[in-house]
């Protein structure tokens, strides 16, 4: 039995199988890219939203929060925070964080954002909320 299956056969299956499945993955990825414009709402991306995404990145928000479920699990999901708090509520929350934290509790740092920056962050989060995520998260609590 085992004599019939040689090392060179195993090697050929490895190379052949890898190439086949990688090409299949590329084909699926290509198909995804033809469908994405209807789902990722790219037509709506403004310079303000782009600025919001940059602020999201350079302040390492993903180090505590999740966005569409990806990130750290220390603080709430923000893909739908606009549903939970509304635009004004979100801005007010970010602005109200005490500089020295809250005794005994987890607290978000105070980033001292300007009004323009806050508007950009909210525009970005609103954009993320508009993405077609197959109805995820299950409810508004994220």
């Amino acid at each position: 039995m085992s004599g019939a299956f040689t090392k060179s056969m195993a090697r050929n299956i490895f190379y052949g199988g890898t190439v086949f499945f990688f090409l299949l993955f590329l084909a699926l990825s290509f198909d995804t890219h033809t469908q994405l414009p209807k789902r990722d709402m790219r037509a709506n991306i403004t310079p303000q939203i782009a600025e919001g995404k940059k602020l999201w990145e350079v302040n390492n928000c993903i180090g505590c929060h999740t966005l569409l479920g990806e990130g750290a699990y220390f603080a709430p999901e923000l893909g739908n925070v606009i549903v939970r708090y509304g635009e004004e509520g979100t801005k007010a929350f970010i602005q109200a964080r005490p500089k020295e934290g809250i005794p005994g509790r987890r607290s978000m740092p105070q980033f001292n954002f300007t009004d323009d920056q806050l508007n950009a962050i909210v525009a970005f989060l609103k954009h993320v909320n508009s993405i077609n995520t197959n109805n995820w998260p299950p409810n508004s609590q994220g």
Partner: protein, 458 residues
Amino acid sequence: MQYKSQAVAKPYFIAAIGLFVGQILFGLILGLQYVLGDFLFPAIPFNVARMVHTNLLIVWLLFGFMGGAYYMIPEESETELFSPKLALILFWTFLVAGALTIVGYLLVPYATLAEMTGNNLVETMGREFLEQPLPTKLGIVVVALGFLFNLTMTMLKGKKTAISMVLMIGLWGLAVFFLFSFYNPVNVVLDKFFWWWTVHLWVEGVWELILGSFLAFVLIKTTGVDREVIEKWLYVIVTLTLITGIIGTGHHYFWIGTPEYWQWWGSIFSALEPIPFFAMTVFAFNMVNRRRREHPNKAAVLWALGTGVMAFLGAGVWGFLHTLAPVNYYTHGTQITAAHGHMAFYGAYAMVNLMMISYAMPILRGRAANSNKSQVLEMWSFWLMTVAIVFITLFLTAAGILQVWLQRASDTPLPFMVAQDKIAIFYWMREWAGVFFLIGLIVYIVSFFVGGDEKETA
């Protein structure tokens, strides 16, 4: 040691262990911040400690992979390393770049660090695990290319075995897929889509080739089983890895804006991802049972068996637990994910590096194996760390199930922080398990310094 240039592996292994200690210390800080929210705030906020924890993990694993490869390739190729000098230059480059990055995270606010390091030129920072400043990312590319050049040249002038071919494919894949970390479009869906081409295709793709290759190498050396048999197994394992793992990327494409059909592709193929890990476990036990010699390094064999089992449990079983789309709808981005991440990384990648270090380090220090006393301590550290990670995983799983129940599956879902407060007991238990892990790690380090003067008869 058969080839004197293998000695370049030694500083890589030492650095790997040093950074591993840092990773665990920051892990304990994070665990405490989960229950004492203001611990070290605002000096070291959670996000900073987490970056240090995860980045140290990645860097020490890379040091381990590089050390292992520098040790293995000359022996497999039956020739000296192309350039030991280049290997040492790259070692210091990588160590200094890594240290500066960590210091940067700790001393400078992240936004300032981004500004200082040219993030405005090419925006790559602020994405999970790829937080490194641009110069560090470029440094990783330079080090990886120099390292691959060195090893490829070594292999070209020597023997090309299946084990070293698989390792080189894994390492080249590692370098190629890292390049996606430079692609960060403003469209967040595209950003996430290609982010996984680095993250998933590393840990559930090419890294498994490195794992399989190291495991095969150590099993040949310690069991004396025929190379033909072991290499055939290796090909079967890495075939299973890539035919499940590549399309398995789809399990990250359920809820990030990508089409529904990924729920089918992702669920089915990633449900098969435990198979290669199971094969690795069977492989390791089989080869050890069929051993033709009693290698004096019992500790290395223990790590080899352990990495198979723990990778299967952590990556395979705990991965499967939440990989089917209807389940993942509820568990996505919860403590279940964290539970899986901890056991998978320890079982697959921490343990395989510790196995390689365990096998190679005594030889690099001029003996076939450590003294019995030293090996006993090392095996104690194996059990302490492994049992600790099992408990960390179980407590996080319990926390995750409750989190899903309270916050996701309930008819009256609770806000995130309310749910977190209710599951705090499990975070405390996880922290205690983490303390045991640290004790295990200390025992591990002590094992390098005891009984060295005793002569092992091999």
